[in-house]
């Protein structure tokens, strides 16, 4: 092919013929106008020499540059939904004139386009090109990306692309605090500039055996015969110029082993092979990280280490109390603070910093520490007052009588003892009684003691005055005030018993009242809720509405029994369920394999519901077979585990199409049927399971709390299936008690 032919091919690839003619012409015209002078300038510096200048000019016999209205062209691209058809055309026609520093934007637009053109010729950089062009377009059109332009340097300061690359690299490292959108965006721009500057080869991506050599892009390497040695192909650009390190993805398998007992073809998993010759050196580092991890876990639990390691011992506490109580009689202010630190798990500085939510005062003639405790689910609309239990916003924690005088002296209004004063005070005790007291050990003792007693971490956090951001389980907990007080009393009394003293706390009044989330439904409301949802299905005759209402019921039941978060595509795929083990792999956070992912045992009713749902899908597929092939195919793909388990049907211009479940769509279909948050199941179930004596640690694992649950599901956990089965049994009992049943679906009558 001659040079002109190459040029036409190049321009056709950049601006496909499917684009409206006006858009193509505008794009070609602006490509020449913007990029040609820039290219000549860079080529004088020896950059981008592989991109012929004539490629940016269009032969007049093929194209007619008549229009240059880029705004109109961009509007056409948007209205005809063609923004992704040609990333080059979309980027070139992006209206950047309205930006405050339009000139700088044009410079960057030109450079990115040129880099992308150069990479296009090189081949195998498609992903990088698309990402960079999209980013430069979004800088002009999206408010989230716009600040990136301010951050980018002026191009006039750089003579070479390598210089620019190094500068941008430094920029990335020094701006780690940027929002992730901008960090990523910057990364996309850096990748194309670096690839051009360092003349990097492209990445060849292949998908398994299905990708045929004919469909490979023209710049791909020719297919080579399959052998054991070449069955891995380079996959991931590691971003480091280290020839010793590369990552490969397994793409094909030897056919010779097909007849063996166990087929070697891996269907669902994606195996990678890491080549890192420096691994031998890293092993030690890896071991160190591993050890740190174990130490951290042990520290968090505070149970497996001997008390002498990090915690105060009973001997220490006994003498601390004796010493503090005797000092209190002499109006020693520091003794009061040390005692409060022991009984509250917080140091004086914390009390001062959180003066807005903690109060130390005499209430009803009792020295008390009053905490304000509020969580988002504690606030509900007034019209739900008849349905949801009320919660208190404050918690009064009585202090021992011996602290009466100290509390009356309004300690928070007076200067606090300094750290040195407290250390000196503790030093006296240590010297007198051979104890090992430090302020940290005194503060931590309450958590340590209560944890060893099997107390829920949420209760401990509540007593310590943590916020729900610090302890996620606090957001979900609906805790009876009496129960929380009982833990506090137990701890204070145990401490004073150690010292042979009486705390003389006032008796707990059997007054009702709870703290935390209001989403703990009374029995009648829970039963009625599922009845209402089931009734809504019964009343629907139209198969689309019936399906949607039925999916709502199935979602409500399954998310209730698994404590599923309110996310896109809830419950994942049918293949996430193991019907033999009755386990379900739940991943309800953005990172599908994050720490919040967990495997749960589900109760029998849930399994029955899934079976009925599968039957429903078969019936829907039969029903829609001749009239709606899309719905029929979707049902079959769902049943085969290839698409998400739950989906809605949407009527669009008379055509019924399946759509994925999103929180917004769920809200639309639910309408008024669920007058509170859609993750109410997590709230209710946590409080309910605790009432049924489920271990708090198992519960945290069950709920998939990112930081806490990892111990239950982590590699060092001793959590057994029996504990998860116990949780499933408890949930089943709750379902049975409330007459919540699996609901049959559509029947072809």
């Amino acid at each position: 092919m001659n040079s002109s032919g190459n040029q036409i091919d190049f321009l056709n690839a950049l601006f496909p013929k499917e684009l409206p003619e006006t858009v193509r012409q505008t794009s070609l015209s602006y490509l020449q106008q913007l990029c040609l002078p820039l290219l000549q300038e860079w080529q004088r510096a020896g950059e981008m020499t592989d991109l012929p200048t004539e490629y940016l000019t269009y032969p007049s016999q093929n194209f007619q540059a008549t229009t240059t209205d880029r705004a109109a062209a961009y509007k056409t691209l948007v209205s005809s939904k063609m923004l992704t058809l040609s990333p080059f055309a979309s980027a070139l026609n992006t209206p950047g004139a309205s930006l405050p520093n339009a000139a700088k934007y044009e410079q960057w637009l030109g450079l990115v386009i040129l880099c992308c053109c150069s990479l296009h010729i090189k081949g195998d950089h498609n992903s990088a090109i698309e990402s960079a062009l999209r980013e430069i377009r979004l800088i002009a059109t999206s408010a989230k990306h716009k600040p990136l332009l301010e951050l980018l340097p002026s191009l006039q300061d750089f003579d070479y692309l390598l210089q620019l690359d190094m500068h941008l690299n430094g920029l990335r490292k020094s701006h780690l605090h940027l929002p992730s959108v901008q960090q990523l965006g910057l990364g996309y721009l850096v990748v194309v500039i670096r690839s051009v500057a360092r003349k990097r080869k492209g990445v060849i991506r292949q998908r398994g055996e299905s990708s045929s050599p004919t469909s490979a892009p023209r710049t791909s390497a020719p297919p080579t015969p399959q052998t054991a040695a070449n069955s891995f192909v380079p996959l991931v650009d590691t971003g480091v110029d280290d020839p010793e390190f590369r990552i490969e993805k397994l793409t094909s398998f030897s056919k010779a082993t097909e007849n063996e007992d166990e087929p070697t073809t891996i269907v669902t998993s994606v195996p990678y092979r890491f080549h890192d010759r420096s691994l031998r050196n890293k092993e030690i580092a890896l071991q160190a990280i591993h050890s740190i991890r174990i130490a951290e876990q042990m520290r968090v639990r505070q149970q497996s280490l001997p008390c002498s390691f990090e915690q105060a011992s009973e001997w220490d506490i006994k003498h601390l109390l004796t010493h503090a109580l005797s000092a209190l009689t002499r109006n020693d202010r520091t003794a009061g603070w040390v005692l409060l630190s022991l009984l509250s798990g917080r140091d004086p500085g914390w009390h001062l910093a959180n003066a807005h939510k903690v109060q130390i005062a005499i209430i009803n003639k009792v020295p008390s520490r009053t905490l304000t405790h509020q969580v988002p689910a504690g606030h509900q609309p007034q019209h739900l007052d008849d349905l949801l239990p009320a919660v208190l916003n404050t918690l009064h924690l009585p202090l021992p009588r011996q602290m009466d005088a100290w509390v009356k002296s309004a300690p928070l209004q007076r200067p606090l003892p300094t750290a040195q004063e407290i250390s000196a005070w503790l030093k006296d005790v240590n010297q007198a009684h051979s104890t090992r007291l430090t302020m940290g050990r005194v503060n931590r003792y309450m958590e340590h003691w209560l944890l060893n007693q099997g107390t829920d971490r949420a209760v401990i956090s509540l007593l310590r005055g943590d916020t729900h951001q610090e302890r996620p389980s606090l957001s979900y907990s609906h805790q009876e005030r009496i129960d929380v007080l009982a833990h506090h009393y137990r701890f204070v009394n145990a401490m004073f018993n150690l010292a042979g003293q009486q705390a003389s706390l006032p008796p707990i009044k059997a007054k009702s009242g709870a703290l935390g989330s209001r989403l703990h439904l009374p029995s009648r409301v829970l039963h009625n809720l599922f009845s209402v949802l089931a009734q809504a299905c019964d009343l629907e005759k139209d198969f689309v509405n019936f399906h949607n209402q039925y999916v709502v019921y199935v979602w409500a039941l399954l998310s209730f029994v698994t404590g599923h978060r309110d996310v896109n595509a809830p419950m994942g795929l049918l293949s996430d369920l193991n019907p033999l083990q009755q386990t379900w792999w739940i991943s309800d956070k953005e990172r599908r394999h994050g720490l919040a992912a967990r495997t749960l045992v589900v109760p029998a009713t849930a399994i029955e519901q899934v079976n009925l749902y599968k039957e429903h899908l078969s019936n829907i597929a039969s029903y829609a077979r001749l009239s709606n092939a899309t719905v029929c195919a979707r049902c079959e793909r769902t049943l085969s585990g290839d698409e998400n388990l739950l989906f809605f049907l949407n009527e669009n211009d008379g055509a019924v199409v399946p759509v994925e479940i999103t929180p917004a769509r769920l809200a639309l279909i639910l309408g008024e049927q669920l007058p509170w948050a859609r993750n109410w199941g997590r709230h209710h179930m946590r409080s309910e399971l605790l009432r049924h004596q489920v271990s708090p640690e198992v519960l945290d694992g069950w709920m998939g709390h990112e930081e806490l649950g990892e111990e239950a599901m982590g590699p060092f956990s001793q959590l057994g299936m029996s504990q998860l089965r116990h949780v499933a049994d408890v949930i089943q009992a709750i379902l049975t008690h409330h007459e919540i049943k699996a609901l049959p679906g559509w029947k072809t009558h």
């Binding site: 019209h383 029995s523 001749l626």
Partner: protein, 190 residues
């Protein structure tokens, strides 16, 4: 001449556009039997009835009988089902429509749930053309008199069926209605 074929795993069958109204109408009516609950062997046997189709280059367009499609286990009838294939030149659109309606009416008359008789009459007049009404029922429109004559039920019974359909409970729609529904006393609640 019609061509006879047997269905295979690759047979692709779609609905003839002219038969859509008949198919849509018939599938909405409530039958006496839950066909999805029938045993697998029974479903397969019922689904193997010969099908009349129009052969097009890419697919076979089914027009009668339409009801067996709900019994298929996949997107084609059981393997070996006899297919009577005509070309578009051999049968007119009107004849196809008539055959489709006759097939669904025959099936509906044999299996309709007794509570759905008023539904049949009310929905048919909206779905089937006047011409076919006149041709098949010898009446301008299917009316209550005919229904009573054919089924032996009284007009009062038909009226009662309609009244029940009209007064069927609707789900609570307003926030207050939902709150009331959720607040209903139940069991041994606190």
């Amino acid at each position: 001449m019609p061509q006879l074929k047997q269905s295979t795993q690759t047979t692709k069958i779609t609905l003839h556009p002219t038969a859509l109204a008949a198919h849509t109408w018939s599938r909405e009516l409530h039958r006496w039997f839950n066909r999805s609950a029938l045993p697998e062997t029974m479903r397969k046997a019922l689904a193997q009835q010969p099908l009349q189709c129009i052969a097009t280059p890419s697919t076979l367009e089914l027009y009668a009988p339409l009801w067996t499609s709900v019994l298929w286990q996949s997107d084609h009838p059981p393997i070996g089902t006899l297919l009577v294939c005509l070309t578009p030149d051999e049968i007119s659109e009107a004849e196809i429509e008539r055959a489709a309606w006759v097939s669904v009416l025959g099936e509906v008359f044999n299996s309709l749930h007794p509570h759905g008789i008023s539904d049949l009459r009310d929905t048919l007049k909206e779905s089937m053309s006047h011409g076919l009404h006149r041709e098949l029922f010898n009446a301008k429109m299917l009316n209550d008199n005919l229904m009573c004559k054919w089924t032996g039920i009284s007009r009062a019974a038909l009226g009662e069926q309609r009244r029940r359909n009209r007064t069927q409970a609707s789900p609570p729609a307003t926030t207050q209605a939902i709150i009331n529904a959720l607040n209903q006393p139940w069991g041994v609640d606190e």
